[in-house]
Subunit: 157 residues, 3 copies
Amino acid sequence: MSTAVISSDAIASLQAHLPEPPIPLGSYVAVVRVGNLLYTSGVLPMKDGKLAVTGAVSDDTIEQAREAARLCVLNTLSLIRHELGGTLLPLRRVIKLTGFVSSLPDFYEQPQVLNAASDFLVEHLGDAGRHVRSAVGVSALPKNASVELEMVVEIMG
Amino acid sequence: MSTAVISSDAIASLQAHLPEPPIPLGSYVAVVRVGNLLYTSGVLPMKDGKLAVTGAVSDDTIEQAREAARLCVLNTLSLIRHELGGTLLPLRRVIKLTGFVSSLPDFYEQPQVLNAASDFLVEHLGDAGRHVRSAVGVSALPKNASVELEMVVEIMG
Amino acid sequence: MSTAVISSDAIASLQAHLPEPPIPLGSYVAVVRVGNLLYTSGVLPMKDGKLAVTGAVSDDTIEQAREAARLCVLNTLSLIRHELGGTLLPLRRVIKLTGFVSSLPDFYEQPQVLNAASDFLVEHLGDAGRHVRSAVGVSALPKNASVELEMVVEIMG
């Protein structure tokens, strides 16, 4: 098991990026805790309360899709912070990302899209941000979002 | 961690809806227990031993898709009941749903489809039925099913 | 909880099939340990360092897709062996497979594809290889892979 500890400076720097937590689109919750793990619902690329990046991704729109992945991870961390009472300090490490990318049938760069989320986590959290990941191209996402991201993190016991 | 307790009346009411458990389509099992968690295989909208709702979903077929989501959750709960020896009384809470909706490329209401499953759980189990959820639109599902659902639940220790 | 124990002969037989572990396509890791569980990243059908099976699957290419599923499970087990210091002896059981099959919109035999992975596990590990599974058809996978597989396994405490 990782013994990485995330510094409070790193947490502060990370939190400076976070938006208000988005609102679930149905009768489910944003975060569930099971022991020391937090599972999040699939999160869309929201910005200022609106879906910011829509449409099936192609090689021509990969930069927008990367921004969508980054927004997803920010919104997810915001939901986790909210669940933890307003601070990410109890965060121990990121376990897993599952990223669904709305993809035209000839778009195969889902990893490049999701790297924008993974890189953000590692940049801010170091080794504690390293995670397993699946990147999948799908035919359509809720509200025509370009990316949907779910996350599992571990918190302090 | 949730301290919700599900009443035996709620369980009895829920169980009245459940069909016979469906049979896996290959060399895998329907439910695996890990500690106090039960993971289920992806379940299709079976009814009376047959796949009841097929085809890619569009805005025109959203009601059938919602019925498919409801059938998936009933079949999943039936599998869990079977795993637990014929009763859902040990059920503590629902942790997570992952719902795959076979979707035409311009269908974006996967959350509305999955709400039929989520609402059913909350209606019958109250706070113990609240879960995290991902809703994803995909190009094709086994046997041309309209919906596939996997679930994670927690049981009493 | 399963009390199955995997024999060292079974492990040796299984390991004889395994390739070198593949390299992640981004800033994530191949395997994360949480307690006694190992989660793996989505793995592609690599062979001799190259992606071996590409393209959306149809009824005409189901055998190639089954070979892809088998390659995915071999690569995943190779990653797990690497994580465990070069041996699969600590493996206790397989918990879960999630298999994404790049599918033409009229291809519905994802379970038949994934059975090649599930059957391999059960053939080599017996009851300890039995797992829950979701099989999903998607519009596109990284690098145009035909199959992507993620796995959760339990190891000895």
